[in-house]
Every structure is written in structure tokens, then in C-alpha cells.
Symmetry: C2
Subunit: 203 residues, 2 copies
């Protein structure tokens, strides 16, 4: 990829921004204004450098988008692959997947936020949506398997349940602000997802 | 309000669009392109009428936004007020609120979608966010009361739980397509929210 070649060429250490900090600021700007609403001029202004200084690092806006959404997708699909490869019952693998996804989400919040706002207008966005669908299929397959195992209540539809679970998980990008220790939020999501909020111990 | 005076003046029946159909198309366009990214020119083009024909109905883009988000908020706050006024245990009132909110959401999907994308850049948006916070407080208060009643597990934080519940509910705007009978989705959300997905009957 272009970026790797360029960063590999030794230009990376030039004064100003390296690719990582440039990407981070670009993703924040995309999240604030929307990808379509952000121009390379806007980005140059935010960075306080010229457009040509940005083109030194990346081929353009699309490449920044691809790097941003791939960061999120690599994390999420990594967790999905881990969960699929685990030994043990599907319900436990699903638990691993839910907890791991929350961990990726809070750790890579701006990147996952960008991913979740992608709508499919460009090749990069369509590729991202295709990878998201692969993730969604893994979730739905695990819910279906757990239901066949008798570990998920039979009155829930696997595809619908997968959507509701990850609707809850993904909603974190709208309101969660990381505080260093994310154990609390990971436990809370897993608890509501698997047990609901109603206390049935004394019924 | 201007609109009421104008529609009350008898001009409403003029050929083309009445306020309701104009609002519906405007809200769809706001949802497609973002409120900030939609101009009155864009709207006139979509409607196939002149801008002055739109100003016949409303004072401008802000008024269309206000009418749109108020449609969603009136429905949601109506359900919240109902739930708060009900007799009985907080957990049952919370159940009423969750089910009623899903019903409003699927019935008024474009309007709730618009509401959930509001970010607070204008007076109309700030007013909408203030009304949303009133709704969120009702939910958090009911969760807290239900927890004091011993009906909600004590390991969940009321404010966090309220956010997770409505994160799941609100995620519907991203993927749910109404199919006439919405009982199925209302039951599915209530089931996951209150009982989670794990089958504990045989443990």
C-alpha cells in the first residue's frame, strides 16, 4: 500500500505530523463534520499545514477513511475470529465476543464511531460495510448455535437478537467517554445482554 | 405559531403539497443528507416546487426541523408521562415505557431518526436535546426506583442501565423496517431488555 511505501521511505520522521497523529485528527474531523462534509482544505486548516504536506503521507481523503475504518474493523473482526475459534459452548463464545467488542469499542472509540457512520457511497465505504456484515454473520451464527444448545431462550429470533445486542453495544459511541478502566462498562453490557435487568432471584 | 395561522387561513388546500406531506419529504431529505447539508434549494428541487411555495407553508428550514423533532418528542414524552403516572411497581411502569417507546419509534421512524441525529447547533436542536434529557431522566428515575423495590438487579447502575436500554431501543432506527405488525419487535426488545438472552430455566 502507498502509505506503507511512503512511511517506509524514511520520510515519516519529518517535522509536523506522523501518519498516526494525522489519521487521529482526520478521524476526529470526519466524526465532527461527516466524511462527505470534510474537505482536504478543512483538514489542512485543522492541522495547520498545507494540503501538499498531507499528500506526503496519504493519497487523499479516501485513504484516510480506509485507514480509519480498517483500524476499527481489524479490532472487531479479530475478536470475532477469536470467538469463533474458541473451544466450548456457543453461549460462552458469544460472551467473549460481546465483551471483546465493547473493549475494542471503548479502546478505539473514534475509529469505531467513524465505522458506524459509514453509509456506502464510495468503494471504501462499501468494503467496510461488507466487512461489517461478516462480523454481523458471526454474531448471528453464535446466537443461533447457542439457541440450538438450549442456552438462549427459544423465543428470540437469532438475527433480530444479534441486531439488538449490537445495537446496545454500538450505542456506546453516542454517549460513553472512556475513563481508563473499562471493566465496569464491559461487565454492565454483558450483564444486561445476557441476564436483562429484571431481578428474578426472589420470584 | 406561524404554521397554524397559515394552515388555518384556508391556504392549506392549494394544489401541490399540504404541510404534512411537505414535512414528511423534508424529514426524509434531512435524514439522507443531514440537516446542515440540506438547503431550501435542495428541498424545492426534491419537491418540484419553488422555494416561495415552501415559504407559503413554513418560515424556513428551522421550522421544518422543529416540527419534525417535536413529532418524535411529543410521542416519546407522551409515553414517558403515561408511564410516570401509572399506578403500580416501577418495573411495570418501566416495561410500559420501553414497549411504548418502541411503538412510537417504529410508528414515527423518520421523525425519531431525525431526532436522534440532532447535535445541538441551533436553538431548535438545543430545545430538542433538553426535551430528550427530560425523557432520559424519567427512564433513569424508573430504573432507580425499580432497583430500590428489589425488581432490578442491584449490580446495575441506574443511569448506565437507562443508557444501555435506550441504546438498544434507539438502534432500531439504523436497521428496522416497519412491516405493519410491530408486536414482534416490541416483544423482542422487552424480552432482551428485561430478561437478557440467556436461558436460565434449566440451570
Amino acid at each position: 500500500m502507498t502509505t506503507t511505501q511512503r512511511t517506509g521511505s524514511g520520510r515519516r520522521g519529518r517535522p509536523g505530523y506522523d501518519l498516526e497523529s494525522l489519521l487521529s485528527i482526520a478521524v476526529d474531523l470526519f466524526n465532527e463534520r461527516g466524511y462527505d462534509g470534510t474537505s482536504m482544505e478543512d483538514l489542512a486548516r485543522r492541522l495547520g499545514i498545507t494540503k501538499s504536506a498531507i499528500y506526503h503521507h496519504v493519497s487523499g481523503k479516501q485513504e484516510l477513511l480506509r485507514l480509519g475504518v480498517d483500524r476499527a474493523l481489524d479490532g472487531l473482526l479479530g475478536v470475532a475470529d477469536e470467538a469463533a475459534a474458541l473451544q466450548g459452548r456457543a453461549i460462552d463464545r458469544l460472551d467473549h465476543l460481546v465483551r471483546g467488542s465493547v473493549a475494542v469499542l471503548v479502546d478505539q472509540l473514534p475509529f469505531v464511531t467513524l465505522l458506524l457512520r459509514v453509509r456506502g457511497n464510495t468503494d471504501v465505504e462499501r468494503d467496510a460495510l461488507a466487512r461489517r456484515r461478516r462480523f454481523d454473520r458471526t454474531v448471528a451464527d453464535l446466537v443461533a448455535q447457542a439457541e440450538r444448545d438450549g442456552d438462549v431462550r427459544p423465543d428470540v429470533d437469532p438475527a433480530l437478537t444479534a441486531r439488538l445486542l449490537f445495537g446496545m453495544v454500538n450505542s456506546l459511541v453516542e454517549w460513553y467517554r472512556p475513563r481508563g478502566d473499562d471493566t465496569h462498562i464491559i461487565d454492565a453490557v454483558a450483564s444486561v445482554a445476557f441476564h436483562g435487568i429484571r431481578d428474578t432471584t426472589n420470584r
